[in-house]
């Protein structure tokens, strides 16, 4: 039998009043001086606690993304460490999200650079590629083979940044979630790649919300077995899963700040999706606060998504990033 808590016989002293969460601006520059030469764009980059994007695409698709600094970083006056990217071309769109490892000094740089590298590298190979005429399984392999070296090169870009600046690559550690929608004449394809935790999911026309990426789950929370740009990250990133997209009505990528409150996505993904498509009328179970709001999958989806990411659940105070496409 477990012992009961002992009665205090020690004068504990006055306990402090219940502390409030603070909202402190981060101190210092987003890009530290030692990286300015290697990242010329970063000097002019405006950091924001909240970043959103909304891109209509063709064939009825709309792409939306938002990344919001978590309460813990706000309380401590630290930068948001999540990042995301969206890129479109004539025959493709791509969504990318990244979550810098909280224990690494420059993970905010790593996550942002990883997203930019994926957008640049994959955007380049997808822009003008002509898909071969082949059957579905072969086309899946062709797309995976097309994307794999570009993803590897994107990860190498982050490693190269560390090398060029003389900084331990582990300081840039980040997760990396990538989804590519490719509309070929032979059919629509969805390709995904995942390094680290978070989730990638697709909503099918029959209502199923299906996890696609290989989540990095360990015994305890917050432990990830491999980050970008660790050795092995390229191998993991190149384990690309390709699926037919004809019945896909939405694609969702979320960092762990979104996944953990909805864990497991296999069970709670439908709830998440229903809130995005239908709005919120009452807080989800176990949430302390979730404001009523309109749907995220709407013409003002970026603003709605920014609001949606503000839900409160005990102990879940991480940065939150969700990137989605719907039609």
């Amino acid at each position: 039998m477990r012992p009961e808590p002992a009665t205090s016989e020690v004068e504990p002293g006055a306990l402090p009043a219940a502390p409030a969460w603070l909202d402190r601006a981060p101190e210092g520059p987003w890009c530290p001086p030692e990286l300015r030469e290697a990242l010329p764009w970063a000097a002019a980059a405006d950091y924001a606690d909240l970043r959103t994007a909304l891109h209509p695409w063709r064939a009825g698709w709309t792409l939306v993304g938002a990344s919001r600094r978590g309460r813990l970083h706000a309380h401590r006056g630290e930068f948001r460490e999540d990042a995301f990217g969206i890129e479109t071309g004539e025959q493709f769109f791509l969504l990318v999200a990244a979550d810098g490892a909280g224990s690494c000094r420059l993970s905010r740089i790593g996550s942002e650079c990883a997203c930019r590298a994926v957008v640049r590298r994959l955007g380049a190979v997808l822009a003008d590629v002509v898909p071969p005429a082949m059957d579905s399984p072969a086309l899946h392999q062709w797309l995976a083979a097309l994307l794999a070296p570009a993803l590897s090169a994107a990860i190498q870009d982050v490693a190269e940044l560390a090398r060029a600046s003389g900084i331990d690559p582990r300081e840039f550690r980040t997760t990396l979630l990538t989804a590519v929608w490719f509309a070929s004449p032979a059919g629509e394809l969805l390709a995904v790649s995942q390094v680290g935790d978070g989730f990638i999911a697709a909503r099918r026309s029959d209502g199923r919300v299906e996890r696609l990426g290989a989540g990095d789950v360990s015994e305890f929370s917050g432990e990830v077995s491999c980050f970008v740009p660790d050795d092995g990250a390229s191998t993991r990133a190149q384990a690309i899963a390709v699926t037919d997209g004809a019945d896909v009505t939405a694609i969702l990528l979320g960092t762990d700040g979104v996944e953990d409150p909805f864990y497991p996505i296999e069970r709670h993904g439908a709830l998440l999706y229903s809130q995005l498509v239908g709005g919120v009328s009452e807080p989800a179970q176990h949430f302390q606060r979730q404001e009523s709001q309109g749907p995220v999958f709407a013409p003002d989806g970026d603003q709605q998504l920014a609001r949606w990411l503000g839900f409160e659940r005990r102990g879940e105070n991480d940065d939150r990033t969700l990137v989605a496409a719907w039609r």
């Binding site: 020690v10 504990p12 979550d99 490892a101 690494c104 015994e219 929370s221 990830v224 953990d260 102990g315």
Partner: protein, 213 residues
């Protein structure tokens, strides 16, 4: 969708050699730690404290309890140093109290354990339990060798992270428990790759407390 906890275990040596100022300092240090954590909203939401003492036997005097419900216990020093029983009980606590990730729920954060001891074990079973802890790595363990008589080599067999507190004054214990508080605040973040043991980065120890190489 349950609350993810950061379990924090304090294993305190309450053998006879801790009588007097040291045990009083540990008691006030635990109260100070509680006050510190109560001033941090993240700790209030996620940190859970447990106190395990060991002398002739080990006892979990406070089971894993959320910070806002925690009552600092009274501690009395007497008897031998049954370190093996403390490690056995710690492993048992992990088994019963720690939630691990499953396909249905997220697990707790990796537990944080602080072991304070001022002497050498008086039992013979401790090496087996120390080996189990080292093999299984169920927690981030920080051992504190208190004073000159503490058996640093024994603590090193439990964990690589051993710190030495030579001075057993109330000020040293106060500084140590501030270090514990800072470690707890720093821990609930995504940690390094599991290939490296998933070890956390600790804050720098305060003056007077050194890391044993």
């Amino acid at each position: 969708m349950t609350v993810r906890r950061l379990p924090v275990y304090i294993l305190a040596d309450v053998s006879g050699s801790m009588q007097g100022t040291p045990i009083e300092s540990v008691k006030s240090g635990i109260s100070q730690l509680h006050r510190d954590l109560m001033s941090d909203p993240q700790a209030i939401e996620s940190a859970y404290l447990s106190i395990v003492t060991f002398a002739n036997t080990a006892e979990q005097v406070v089971p894993l309890t959320e910070v806002s419900l925690f009552n600092p216990p009274n501690l009395v020093a007497s008897g031998n140093t049954n370190f093996g029983d403390a490690l056995r009980l710690l492993l048992e606590c992990f088994e019963h109290e720690i939630v691990r990730t499953t396909p249905e729920q997220k697990g707790d954060w990796k537990p944080l354990v602080f072991i304070l001891s001022d002497g050498a074990p008086t039992d013979t079973a401790w090496p087996d339990y120390a080996q189990q802890l080292r093999n299984r790595r169920p927690a981030n363990i920080i051992a504190v060798a208190c004073g000159d008589q503490a058996d640093v080599n024994c603590l090193k067999q439990v964990t690589e992270v051993v710190i030495q507190m030579k001075d057993l004054s109330p000020d040293s214990f106060r500084a140590f428990f501030k270090f514990v508080s800072a470690s707890v605040r720093q821990t609930s973040a995504k940690v390094g790759a599991l290939a490296e043991g998933g070890a956390i980065t600790l804050p720098p120890p305060p003056p007077g407390i050194t890391i044993v190489p």
